[in-house]
């Protein structure tokens, strides 16, 4: 299958957890729905207009951490908005909100980097994106948004984008070295060396919305995430689909 593989990079990221509007906790990985929004934005789609075109039936995404990341909490002094009329800061008090940011080990010398593998049923979407992104140089192009990792101020960039052939496989119970996020339901056995114990976490990902901007029954996925750029040794349930791209194995989040 033809996939688009690229690095999503930035100095800081914030991927807001969906279940609270009073805290600003962040996922470690960009949720799949967020990645779809970025790609739609690059293609020039307006907010809330692309959910059908990027539904789980039509496209699949794998995500992997390319370099070690960490979380940092900063408390922000925000407007307290309980009704629309408070949007200009007219409420009596402000609200102090713990905001989590994803940053690299050293923000001065490094950056947050995710490897994204994107497949779409409609080849023309991949072709269009490759025209914008696959240029062999440091820049990226956009028909709409400025690339940002979650929040608009977390400006980022896309690099090393290429269209490559992904081999499709089905697991037969063998031990595999898997890069990136793994749906927990597909996982039969996981081998975590002691030194990696603190780098493997459980996280969830919202993958799609319906046309009314509600999450669908198929949207929420439980993931195992490795925060290092190394693969984990895992055994998947028999018959689980996985792909290999440039000799690395990934699972689509689905």
């Amino acid at each position: 299958m033809k996939v688009l593989s690229f690095e999503l990079n930035g100095k800081m990221a914030h991927f807001r957890k969906y279940y609270s509007n009073s805290t600003a906790l962040s996922y470690m990985l960009p949720p799949v729905a967020t990645i779809k929004g970025m790609l739609a934005g690059l293609l020039g789609y307006e907010r809330d207009t692309y959910y059908e075109l990027f539904s789980n039936n039509l496209c699949k995404i794998a995500v992997c951490v390319n370099s070690p990341i960490k979380k940092m909490t900063q408390r922000m002094n925000l407007l307290k908005v309980e009704r629309i009329s408070h949007l200009n800061g007219s409420a009596a008090n402000r609200t102090q909100n713990d905001t989590e940011f994803i940053i690299p080990k050293n923000i001065r010398t490094g950056h947050v980097s995710y490897q994204i593998i994107f497949w779409h049923k409609n080849d023309s979407i991949i072709d269009e994106l490759s025209k914008l992104l696959c240029n062999g140089s440091s820049f990226y192009s956009s028909k709409g948004i400025c690339m940002a990792l979650g929040s608009a101020q977390c400006l980022g960039w896309i690099q090393n984008a290429k269209v490559v052939e992904a081999e499709e496989h089905k697991s037969t119970g063998e031990k595999l070295k898997i890069f990136g996020a793994i749906n927990i339901e597909h996982l039969k056995y996981l081998e975590v060396p002691e030194s990696y114990e603190f780098s493997v976490i459980k996280e969830e990902s919202i993958t799609e919305f319906d046309e009314n901007r509600f999450i669908t029954a198929d949207s929420k996925k439980k993931l195992l995430v490795n925060l290092l750029d190394t693969p984990v040794s895992a055994v998947l349930h028999n018959g689980t689909d996985y792909i290999s791209v440039e000799n690395k194995s990934y699972l689509f989040v689905k």
Partner: protein, 304 residues
């Protein structure tokens, strides 16, 4: 009308100052303690710009009215009345016109806004990243009298400042978002100057000691729809990691990787212009890109 994407770098230094306090950490400067990197939020920069432009007589949307907090409804009514578009018969888009046409901060930074019960979100064409120091930073703590209530009781508080920090923000201007908020070339020119000048005019206790050092902007060609994204990854800071950094003399900033990237894009015809303002105090630099010199200290004309 803005028809070009652009990206900018803004560098400033702070000596014995607190560029951006964290309210939950005794108002200590924001830091990543593991690497001793000082951080400054994007909203700090935008607030500086808004306050400065308001002083200059510009109508600012995300602000109080004559120093008093008023509800957004009241602010709307006042704004709509001022521009003669109040009343139920006036169509929605006329009201939105009045808000955008008369508030430079809406055109630059966007906002969630509400007119007559209809909510609309405008994404700001100008986005500024969090700034970070290009080197490890040491904090200074002092206990001092922060309030004197009356003759026999005053409060001692802790106050934190950074010894010295050279901080870089990166940012971008998006031509598509600019179309929606109707940001003009003149708005952009006012923004650049306000970014530099607002810092020089914010002389509160915690902010004194901040000096703008450099503003560099890459203006892309009209026919180029791209960005490099975060220009700070192409600049390199050299310093002795063994000794503390106490002034600009202890750090040298090399822009040659950025110049190389810009030259490549120039050859492809993707860059229209590179403009640069550099303070005469910022001397420890090398490899700066070829750029047209622009005066960012030129006075911003007064708003209405």
């Amino acid at each position: 009308m803005i028809v070009n994407n652009s990206e900018f770098l803004f560098l400033f230094e702070g000596t014995m100052t607190n560029p951006n306090g964290d309210p939950d950490q005794e108002n200590k400067p924001r830091m990543d303690y593991e690497t001793k990197t000082l951080l400054v939020s994007d909203v700090r920069r935008k607030r500086d710009c808004r306050d400065f432009l308001e002083e200059k007589g510009y109508d600012i949307f995300v602000a109080t009215m004559n120093g008093t907090k008023v509800t957004m409804d009241k602010k709307f009514d006042a704004v709509l009345k001022k521009y003669g578009v109040d009343g139920k018969d006036v169509p929605e888009d006329k009201k939105i016109d009045a808000i955008l046409d008369n508030h430079i901060d809406m055109r630059l930074f966007g906002s969630a806004m509400a007119v007559g019960g209809i909510t609309k979100t405008f994404t700001g064409p100008v986005q500024i990243s969090w700034g970070y120091s290009l080197h490890p930073v040491d904090l200074v703590k002092s206990s001092s009298i922060v309030t004197i209530m009356n003759d026999d009781s005053s409060t001692f508080g802790k106050m934190y400042k950074a010894h010295y920090a050279l901080i870089a923000h990166s940012g971008s201007v998006n031509k598509y978002a600019a179309k929606k908020t109707r940001m003009s070339q003149e708005d952009l020119s006012i923004f650049r100057k306000s970014l530099v000048q607002s810092m020089m005019n914010n002389l509160t206790h915690s902010k004194q000691g901040q000096i703008p050092l450099m503003y560099l902007e890459v203006i892309y060609d009209e026919n180029f729809d791209g960005y490099l994204g975060d220009l700070r990854r192409f600049i390199k800071a050299h310093y002795n990691p063994e000794t503390p950094i106490r002034s600009g003399n202890d750090i040298k900033v090399d822009f040659s990787a950025l110049s190389d990237e810009l030259n490549l894009l120039k050859k492809k015809g993707y860059i229209k212009d590179v403009i640069l303002w550099k303070s005469s105090q910022f001397t420890n630099v090398s490899g700066l890109p070829d750029a047209a010199s622009v005066d960012m200290l030129d006075q911003i004309k007064a708003g209405r």
